[in-house]
């Protein structure tokens, strides 16, 4: 049994990881997946303060599968409102189909 879902993707600075996952939990999403990422954006509101000479990425990419678009937008809105004035970040959504009746 597959299930239509909405996939929200947030790319932002690593320092925000805990705060954003709290927002995701609080909003009622059933989970999230985080990946280390690097990148360059158009706004570059703030540079990350990460060392340049090392081999690590200073961004994270968070993916949240939500049961409907509304929840995804709610999370994205909250995140943008709290952080995107002062931190680099972008968020976008796309469609997905969750397999195997995963309780998500």
């Amino acid at each position: 049994m597959t299930q239509k879902a909405c996939k929200l993707i947030i790319v932002t600075e690593k320092v925000l990881q805990n705060k954003i996952t709290q927002i995701i939990d609080a909003a009622g999403a059933t989970g999230y997946t985080v990946v280390s990422a690097g990148g360059r954006g158009s706004r570059n509101v703030r540079s990350s303060g990460q060392p340049n000479v090392s081999d690590t990425y200073s961004n994270i990419k968070i993916e949240v599968l939500t049961i409907d678009r509304e929840l995804a937008l709610k999370i994205a809105d909250e995140v943008a409102e709290q952080f995107f004035d002062n931190y680099s970040g972008i968020s976008y959504i796309s469609d997905a189909e969750v397999l195997h009746a995963h309780q998500f």
């Binding site: 303060g49 060392p51 000479v53 081999d55 937008l73 809105d77 409102e81 995107f84 004035d85």
Partner: protein, 373 residues
């Protein structure tokens, strides 16, 4: 004349020390475009080992020390940490094109302490055989935390004042943005509120910044908690065998690698400074030396009043001259989110730290030798 030429020769000799020469080497190879990378995990463990070692030294020393000797230097450290922020508030922040919050954050970072700069100073003191109190490293938190706390409090008071009106407006909007968004129609473009609230505005309700969470966050940072762990183990356990067989002998070598990284980092950050006002360059050259001289002066008072050693005076001057590189930036980023990290991290990493290590350390060392010898 003779004094000056002696001083200069000493200065060059100190630049040849492993610590400073690796710093310069790092800048040079970064300038030459070297692809050399020191992995981040290595930097982390080096910082851990250096600060644990400094902590252990301090902790074992405190066991046999008269701690009342530490009171005056510790008080001076607190005073210097706070003072540095206000200096930035009333100098750098007044400069054209410099945003006030950015200046306050920069002051906080320059007031806070760099563990690696302190490690470099301790190593050079040992090489020059200048004695210092073994607990001198433990002055670190007494300057670091007050500086960060002051910067965050001052910045938020400033922002609260400035934004009281805007905040009221934004919070109305914020409440509006929480009303459920009409969903269901996937392709329709819903209308999002584009205004956002200042993060600090959450505090604006009670017009007060809470201090304890900032202190706690500082103490929990990787640098300070490694050092405090070392102090505690030095005090309560018997770490002598690992201290003598591991932490102490590896200290200088690990420091040389860290200095290399800091040199490379400094060079690669310089370009970032171009994006911010040029007064940051002036500030980050002058401030470390100015802060160092203030601390040196206060240290001399303690020297005459309570017998604080000349080596200790140098340590006090150097931690004042240093600017935080590990725990300071994230603390400030969270506490003053609207300040631009390119400004304060760039100023500190690209110029402040090389000046503190490459100029302030040999300068205050030479001064102490001249006065003390």
């Amino acid at each position: 004349m003779d004094f000056l030429s002696n001083f200069l020769m000493d200065f060059v000799k100190q630049l040849q020390s492993p610590t400073l020469s690796f710093l310069i080497g790092g800048m040079v190879i970064a300038a030459c475009g070297s692809q050399l990378q020191i992995p981040e995990s290595i930097c982390k463990i080096i910082v851990f080992m250096l600060l644990t070692k400094i902590g252990l030294t301090g902790g074992m020393a405190i066991r046999n020390s008269n701690l009342t000797e530490m009171v005056l230097p510790a008080l001076f450290s607190v005073a210097i940490g706070i003072l540095i922020v206000f200096i930035a508030r009333y100098t750098l922040a007044r400069m054209p094109k410099v945003k006030t919050v950015d200046a306050i954050a920069t002051g906080g970072l320059f007031g806070a302490v760099s563990g690696s700069t302190m490690a470099a100073a301790l190593t050079l003191l040992e090489e020059q055989k200048i004695p210092y109190e073994a607990w001198a490293g433990a002055l670190y938190p007494f300057m670091d935390i007050p500086a960060l706390v002051t910067a965050i409090v001052v910045a938020n008071i400033y922002l609260n004042k400035k934004k009281r009106k805007e905040a009221a407006f934004a919070s109305a909007q914020g409440a509006y943005s929480k009303q459920p968004v009409a969903a269901g129609d996937y392709s329709s473009s819903s209308d999002y509120p584009s205004s956002r609230r200042e993060y600090a505005q959450q505090e604006s309700g009670d017009h007060r910044v809470k201090i304890w969470p900032i202190v706690e966050e500082s103490l929990q940072g990787p640098a300070l908690s490694a050092m405090l762990l070392g102090v505690a183990l030095g005090l309560f356990a018997r770490p002598e065998s690992v201290y003598e067989g591991f932490y102490d002998p590896l200290f200088r070598g690990l420091l040389s690698i860290l200095m290399l990284v800091m040199g490379m980092e400094a060079w690669s950050r310089i370009s970032e400074l171009r994006k911010v006002a040029q007064w940051y360059v002036v500030y980050s050259i002058v401030a470390p030396l100015a802060h160092g001289f203030i601390a040196f002066g206060l240290g001399m008072i303690a020297h005459y009043a309570t017998g604080f050693s000349m080596g200790g005076v140098v340590v006090l001057a150097v931690i004042a001259a240093s600017s935080s590189d590990i725990s300071g930036p994230p603390t400030l980023r969270a506490g003053i989110p609207s300040a631009n990290p390119s400004a304060y991290i760039g100023a500190s990493t690209a110029i402040g730290t090389p000046v503190a290590i490459g100029i302030a350390i040999p300068l205050f060392l030479g001064l102490a030798q001249t006065i003390g010898g």
